[in-house]
């Protein structure tokens, strides 16, 4: 059975929708800035669901007033990592919240091989299950190259 027939990973907001256009991303960023969130850009080539901390692209952007600054950073990241997963994260610094409140993917590789289920037999008839990303079978430089 295929759990994800579209062959796209679904993490964070809007991930079941078609890819957001730049205009739509700008609207989301504006919304976050109005709420006082600090945006940051992160990228990875290993989209395993337990891979929580992706690589930061530059610093989180505090004290911004307009989405153009965040978009500038996103375009730089796309130029540097055209075939990686890139996501936008909004950090809410309100006392006692202090956490990520928005997160959505804005860039994906053209071909996403997806995940396989690995069964490991242990202790007699017990089975341990784990999710394995096909992309990570290849060395870092060759993942998502085509």
């Amino acid at each position: 059975m295929m759990t994800n027939p579209t062959g796209r990973i679904t993490q964070g907001q809007f991930s079941f929708l078609p890819d957001l256009t730049d205009a739509e991303i700008t609207l989301q960023i504006e919304y976050g800035l109005r709420k006082g969130y600090a945006w940051s850009v992160e990228y990875t080539d290993d989209p395993h669901p337990r891979n929580t901390y992706w690589e930061m692209f530059g610093m989180p952007m505090f004290d911004l007033a307009d989405a153009a600054g965040v978009m500038l950073e996103l375009q730089n990241c796309r130029k540097t990592f055209p075939n990686h997963y890139i996501r936008m994260m909004a950090f809410d610094s309100t006392r006692n919240v202090e956490t990520i409140v928005m997160s959505f993917i804005v860039n994906r590789p053209a071909n996403e091989p997806g995940f396989g289920l690995v069964r490991q037999e242990v202790n007699g008839r017990s089975v341990h299950y784990t999710v394995h990303s096909y992309a990570t079978d290849k060395p870092e430089s060759e993942r998502y190259s085509g």
């Binding site: 809007f14 929708l17 078609p18 957001l20 256009t21 739509e24 609207l27 989301q28 504006e30 919304y31 530059g58 610093m59 952007m61 004290d63 911004l64 007033a65 307009d66 989405a67 153009a68 600054g69 965040v70 500038l72 950073e73």
Partner: protein, 315 residues
């Protein structure tokens, strides 16, 4: 991509397709655009709050006129490229460069040229790093903060230090140039500084000079204007000139203008602050006197006459 079948929260509701050639906006006369954008309120405020500065006000009017006409052109479907509005403010100390820059952000926002209308005021320290590789992220961070508003670089000539060829200022200038050119709609840059030093700065950075469309020179104030400014400053602090004090202050200004290191409105502010000090110690000396609101807010001629300026000029 086909028309989206979903609605993104916050997205504007798409308008029904208008037939080709239809007008986007309704305003057809200058008056209608002005009424929409409250530009005239801005002009009135400018005339009311800022004394003198005729060339500056004229240039702001010209820019506003261009933006209004552009809006009319856009309503008729004529292509209008966003004009470059980067500016340089030159003038002697205290001629109101910073004050006008603060206003400019607000004005451009009301005219609909910048989206947010905030002002980020920086100096060399905020742009230039201390070691290799420090400058670019620092400058970019400031630029990102200023997007959608106005970036005001005070004493911009400090960015370029010809005496030190390893100075990182040049790197900041290059990044600045790139953003000024590529992201004209997102950001307006205003450079400010003293006239002579800015001239040498622009001579050594011709690329910067040619990317700035508006070189505005701030003239020195006349004595009558300085007097007007002083009255406004006092009013803002709930003070006023007592009987004869305004005339004495005018005499003071006439003498002070001729002296070195005269910094226009800033010198006026300092002179008034010193007069307030003298008034305070004058009242302080009279321990048993009952002081009313009028006593506490009046500057008398003797508060001003005690100034050093009168002593040095009448030996």
């Amino acid at each position: 991509m086909p028309k989206s079948m979903y609605a993104i929260p916050g997205a504007p509701v798409p308008k029904p397709e208008t037939p080709a050639g239809a007008v986007a906006g309704s305003a057809r006369t200058v008056g209608e655009v002005l009424a929409e954008s409250q530009v005239e309120a801005v002009f009135e405020e400018l005339d009311r709050d800022l004394v003198g500065l005729a060339p500056v006000k004229q240039r702001i009017r010209d820019i506003a006129a261009l933006l209004v006409i552009d809006k009319l052109r856009m309503n008729l479907g004529l292509a209008a490229q966003a004009p470059s509005l980067h500016m340089s403010f030159t003038g002697n100390p205290g001629t109101g460069k910073t004050t006008v820059a603060m206003r400019m952000a607000q004005i451009l926002h009301r005219l609909g040229y910048v989206r947010k209308g905030h002002l980020v005021a920086v100096t060399r320290d905020d742009l230039v790093g201390q070691y290799i590789g420090h400058t670019a992220p620092k400058t970019k961070e400031v630029l990102k903060k200023a997007m959608g508003g106005v970036l005001f670089i005070d004493e911009a000539y400090y960015l370029y230090r010809p005496e030190n060829e390893r100075d990182y200022g040049q790197e900041a200038i290059e990044i600045l140039l790139q953003v000024m050119e590529n992201q004209r709609d997102d950001l307006v840059v205003i450079l400010a500084g003293y006239k002579d030093r800015m001239d040498t700065f622009f001579q050594s950075n011709p690329g910067l000079s040619s990317r700035i469309a508006h070189h505005i020179d701030f003239p020195d104030y006349a004595v009558a204007e300085l007097l007007q400014i002083s009255e406004r400053m006092l009013q803002a602090q709930h003070y006023h000139f007592g009987k004869g004090a305004a005339e004495v202050f005018e005499r003071y200004l006439n003498l002070r203008v001729a002296q070195p290191h005269f910094a226009n409105a800033r010198s006026v502010r300092n002179a008034l602050d010193r007069a307030r000090l003298r008034q305070a110690s004058r009242l302080f000396a009279e321990r048993d006197r009952v002081l009313g609101a009028d006593d506490l807010s009046t500057l008398t001629p003797q508060d001003i006459l005690a100034s050093r300026v009168f002593q040095t000029s009448n030996p």
